[in-house]
């Protein structure tokens, strides 16, 4: 296998929205190539072996979400799980209504679904107001509501318990998007909250894999002929080695969760402080009620892409929600909904310490280099006098 020139153990990896696999999960994946490759629905012996491995892995992942294995299905991506999860709610509730109540900072894949065209506004830290959800629900014609446990871009936690209670009162099913929280946030998912819960194994250094919970008793069903796999929610069974790697990543992450989250929270605090002390830099998202490992700030009079390149030159890999980056035509809808600067945006998603043992060094380097990197970019753009 060709070796990547990017070694997360030594390079300043500060963008782990999709990070490297946990090293132990990577071992599991390699071992599972020999034992778990078969289609778990086959009746021959390799198929049965894969089936047994899948059952065990499903139990571990169900436990991670505090649900029963028969409530949990595995999907090719978190986005696929979100789409299927919402589609099942909408179809089952098609006679009750067609609108989807969602916050303006929900993930694009959800906001692009039919019925979600009019999202509920958020405040300056990106948090929805439960009263606004209540008003939207009182409008009638509602199939489902959607709420993220916390925002993956700015870290702000959402009022999950309040919105969950509201949905129960209105008899409206709630889809909880925990794709940024699971394994990262001690307050991740309140017990029994939501009718449908979606998580991403990538959030805890597993492979990108969608985890979909449909709680027992939820009215849920997809249109069309029944799907063959994953409790009727997928067209094909998952590739078992990936699910095994996800389960192993969970075991490893859960074992050290408390210390990991404490350390991440302190590192993010460092970045928030360092960024806020640079002239005309605004740190966004809730400073306290937030994910431990995510921080975003925007640099006035700077181009996000140039800033990313400048930091990359200094050995630091970060992300950006700016539209000035070549890959995006529109700026981050999250930043826009919050009314904060979308240009000059820098987003840090800390990798787990187990994945990147040098992450504290990378954070120190970012804090040290940032003032100079910002000044260099502004000089290049001729905005250092503004």
């Amino acid at each position: 296998m060709a070796r990547s020139s990017f070694d997360p153990r030594v390079t300043g990896l500060l963008d782990a929205a999709r990070g490297p696999l946990h090293p132990v999960a990577a071992e599991t994946l390699r071992a599972a190539l020999a034992t778990g490759w078969a289609d778990p629905t086959r009746l021959h012996s390799p198929g049965r072996e894969a089936r047994a491995l899948l059952d065990t892995a499903r139990e571990v992942l169900a436990d991670a979400l505090a649900v029963r294995p028969d409530e949990l299905s595995v999907h090719p991506s978190a986005e696929a799980a979100l789409e299927v999860g919402l589609a099942g709610l909408r179809h089952a509730r098609r006679r009750a209504g067609r609108r989807v109540v969602a916050g303006a900072t929900e993930r694009s894949v959800l906001l692009l679904q039919p019925g979600a065209e009019q999202p509920v506004p958020v405040d300056a830290v990106g948090r929805v107001d439960p009263h606004a959800y209540a008003v939207a629900m009182a409008g009638g014609d509602v199939a489902a509501a959607v709420l993220q446990t916390a925002n993956a871009e700015v870290g702000t936690r959402q009022p999950v318990a309040e919105v969950d209670a509201l949905c129960r009162r209105h008899g409206i099913p709630l889809l909880l998007d925990a794709t940024a929280s699971l394994g990262r946030d001690p307050q991740g998912i309140p017990p029994a909250a939501g009718s449908v819960v979606v998580a991403d194994a990538a959030s805890f250094a597993g492979p990108p894999l969608g985890l979909l919970v449909v709680r027992t008793g939820t009215r849920w069903g997809l249109p069309g002929p029944r799907r063959e796999a994953e409790h009727g929610r997928e067209h094909a069974p998952p590739w078992v080695p990936l699910v095994l790697a996800a389960a192993e990543a969970w075991r490893q992450t859960a074992a050290v969760a408390a210390a990991e989250q404490r350390s991440a929270r302190a590192l993010v605090e460092r970045v928030r402080h360092a960024a806020a002390s640079v002239r005309d830099v605004e740190v966004v998202g809730d400073p306290d009620d937030r994910l431990p490992h995510v921080v975003t700030f925007s640099v006035l009079y700077a181009d996000g892409e140039v800033l990313l390149e400048e930091l990359a030159r200094r050995g630091l890999a970060v992300a950006s929600g700016s539209a000035c980056t070549s890959s995006a035509l529109r700026p981050s809808h999250v930043l826009a909904a919050m009314g904060v600067l979308t240009h000059g945006n820098v987003r840090v998603t800390l990798p787990l310490e187990a994945v990147s043992p040098s992450r504290a060094d990378a954070v120190e380097r970012l804090c040290r280099e940032l003032p100079d990197a910002v000044a260099a970019v502004r000089r290049r753009l001729g905005t250092d006098d503004l």
């Binding site: 605004e282 539209a323 700026p331 826009a336 600067l341 240009h343 000059g344």
Partner: protein
């Protein structure tokens, strides 16, 4: 949107009596905000500066910039672009603002 004034395609300080107009149509972020900030530099509080821009990012970035700098901004949507009418606020004294010399 009123079809009257600011249409001249320049960064000019505006003609006698009219507000300064920055026409940044066709420019992408962060250029519209940079040109607007440049035009606003050194002007007295209460002065109006107008920006014309068609970049979608400006739609959130101009109000964000105005909030950070203590200016007020009004948006007037046209079919193909937006007119941002900025009334400059008092220069702010917290860490390095636009009016602090460098």
């Amino acid at each position: 949107m009123s079809g009257s004034e600011p249409r001249q395609p320049s960064d000019g300080r505006g003609r006698r009596g009219g507000p300064s107009v920055v026409d940044a149509r066709g420019s992408r972020c962060p250029v519209p905000v940079i040109r607007l900030a440049r035009a606003a530099r050194g002007l007295a509080p209460g002065t109006t500066v107008v920006l014309l821009a068609d970049d979608v990012a400006a739609w959130s970035d101009v109000p964000a910039w105005a909030r950070m700098k203590g200016h007020t901004v009004t948006l007037l949507e046209d079919d193909d672009w937006t007119e941002y009418r900025v009334v400059l606020g008092e220069p702010r004294t917290d860490r390095g603002q636009a009016d602090s010399s460098t």
